[in-house]
Amino acid sequence: MLALLLALATLTHEHEHMHAAGAAQSIFLQQTSGTSVAPAGEALPMTMFHSGSWNVMLHGIAFLNDTHQSGFRGRDRTFSTNWTMLMAQRSAGRGAIMLRAMLSGEAATIRDRKYPELFQTGETAFGKQIIDGQHPHDFFMELAAEYAHPIGSATGYLYLAPVGDPALGPVAYPHRESAMEIPQAVLSHHFQDSTHISYNVVTAGVALRAVRIEASAFHGGEPDENRWNIDGGRINSASGRLTFTPISDLVAQVSFGYLTKPEKLEPGDAKRTTASVSYAEGPLAITAVWGRAYKESHDQTLESYLAESSLHLGRSWIAARFEDVQKDELFQHVHTSPVIVFPRFPVPVFRVKAATLGYTFDFLVRGSARYGIGANYTLYRFPEILKVFYGERPRARMLYIRTRWGV
């Protein structure tokens, strides 16, 4: 009888462990990059399999793009944007552990350390600030481990990443379902979600029902031009994020970050504030983001707004994006300064609006992969004074072949 009771107690304890571990593992389910939360309705395609006690998931996306841009600053280029993610998770005692690696081959598939994108700015190429171009992502986009553990009715989690995504901003655009059928970067990237590749990230958070509160410490410098290594760097920046999920298909977040010297060619620190709402249900995914960046070097605050959506109907994908962003780096710096020079003066800022409409058709669905062909077209509105630099009506069109794997 005693043996039977002991066996029953052990089984009950294990069941509780499994239940607790399941609750802990559910923390990972909606995380797509770092600890940022995507709506549960986002049908991110993933290949899942088991390896021992590990649940392994794989997915990724790659575009072969051909862009043609008109106007004085327009450029044509063929290049590939791509990334893939491998994630494994298992229970660990009453908690759960998750390992994630996200890799990109863009350093090899994008020439000249950038691809052309009108009005896009941020980071450097060959020692100069990138203007009208987007930098490739680092080979190591994320290498992270996360442990989640029940704390009463809540779940606490700790995220450690030599390369990772701190608790700042919405789900980064490469990983948002609403953005995934538009291969080019968002113009607001460096106001909203550019910290998705940061170094030495430590995030601790608590999730209780519909609310998650988390804080991060990390190195605030943007990646350098060597896209193949892990830059590292002293932990010198911090952020915090409050995420609210009133229903599983709707996620809202507000976040704030203090970034120590984020830019290579710009002295001073930056503050970033973001708020976003994402909704995904069935074939529809919608995201709206507001991002504000304060730059200490010029004592200036810049605003950005983004709205985007994707609609998946059978083999068709319709994607749209609208942005309204203030740009302060559309011209090369005269000289760079390693320190802030006082008194500080504002630099000219230009408000740029861009609207993109795209369509992708999946011409082949085979095994765990989807192959599509698509195009998108972008219109711009900008201050009159920039017409002499950009032309009267610059346009950008993108033709692409896309594959998603892990269906």
């Binding site: 004085f72 002295p267 070097s297 010029h298 559309l330 011209f331 090369q332 710096h333 005269v334 000289h335 760079t336 300064s337 320190v339 802030i340 020079v341 500080r344 003066f345 504002p346 630099v347 000219p348 230009f350 009159e384 004074i385 920039l386 017409k387 002499v388 630099f389 009267e392």
Partner: protein, 245 residues
């Protein structure tokens, strides 16, 4: 000493880190004061900046009723749209840079105004008050104004006159509002000596050679001038000696 060091360090910082200090740019516009109706008029916009490398956009609001003909300058990219010419330069070298804008004048007499403005688009401009300038041009009818002429009458060309009171006379010009009398003696430059509404004037000169000319100022035509004249002013002999001779 401490103030001197502060000044030196600020100057060094200003030189080395120009992106983080203001760079003043100034604009000046020049053009003809008068031009015949229907003719091409060239305006020159001059930008001056101390530091090289900054980007600028110049907007020239063309005169109403004038037609755009051309615009440009080396290293400047210019666009014309809806009565405005915009020129951009992404890395202006230090010193001065000129942009020439050519318009075709209207066909009827009037005063036209050309206005230009410069925007610093890459660095802060601390003194925007010197970023604007304009030029007025009187457009005249060459058929009307071409008939205007003025001739020197007295003293006759290469004639003589007795010192000291010399009388100068010229022909009247219809609708002239005034005459400007310019004169100089010896090697002196000719200067404005008098303004008059009459067609003659008396001025005192010592013996010697005198150069002179007259300009007639008209309300809606270019000024017309006599050809430069020379008169030899001679000493007047005493009346008694003259009688003995």
């Amino acid at each position: 000493m401490r103030h001197l060091l502060t000044l030196i360090s600020f100057a060094l910082a200003a030189t080395a880190f120009a992106d983080h200090i203001p760079i003043d740019v100034s604009l000046q516009m020049s053009g003809p004061a008068m031009a015949p109706a229907g003719s091409d008029i060239t305006y020159t916009i001059t930008l001056t900046t101390l530091f090289p490398g900054a980007a600028y956009a110049v907007t020239d609001t063309l005169p109403a009723n004038a037609r755009f003909a051309s615009a440009g300058a080396p290293l400047w990219n210019c666009l014309q749209s809806r009565g405005k010419v915009t020129c951009g330069n992404e890395r202006l070298s230090g010193g001065s840079s000129n942009i020439q804008v050519v318009v075709t004048a209207p066909d009827t007499p009037q005063v036209i105004t050309n206005t230009a403005h410069v925007d610093s688009v890459s660095v802060f401009d601390p003194y925007p008050a010197n970023n604007d300038d304009s030029a007025n041009t009187l457009i005249y009818d060459p058929a009307i104004c071409g008939a205007n002429s003025i001739k020197a009458l007295v003293p006759p060309p290469h004639g003589t006159a007795a010192a000291p009171h010399v009388t100068f006379q010229w022909s009247a010009v219809a609708r002239a509002i005034r005459y400007e009398f310019y004169a100089g003696q010896g090697s002196a430059m000719l200067t404005l000596v008098a303004l008059t509404a009459e067609t003659q004037i008396v001025r005192d000169f010592v013996p010697g050679e005198v150069q002179w000319y007259v300009v007639a100022i008209l309300p809606d035509c270019p000024p017309v001038a006599t050809a430069p004249q020379t008169v030899l002013v001679q000493a007047q002999l005493p009346r008694g000696r003259a009688a003995r001779h």
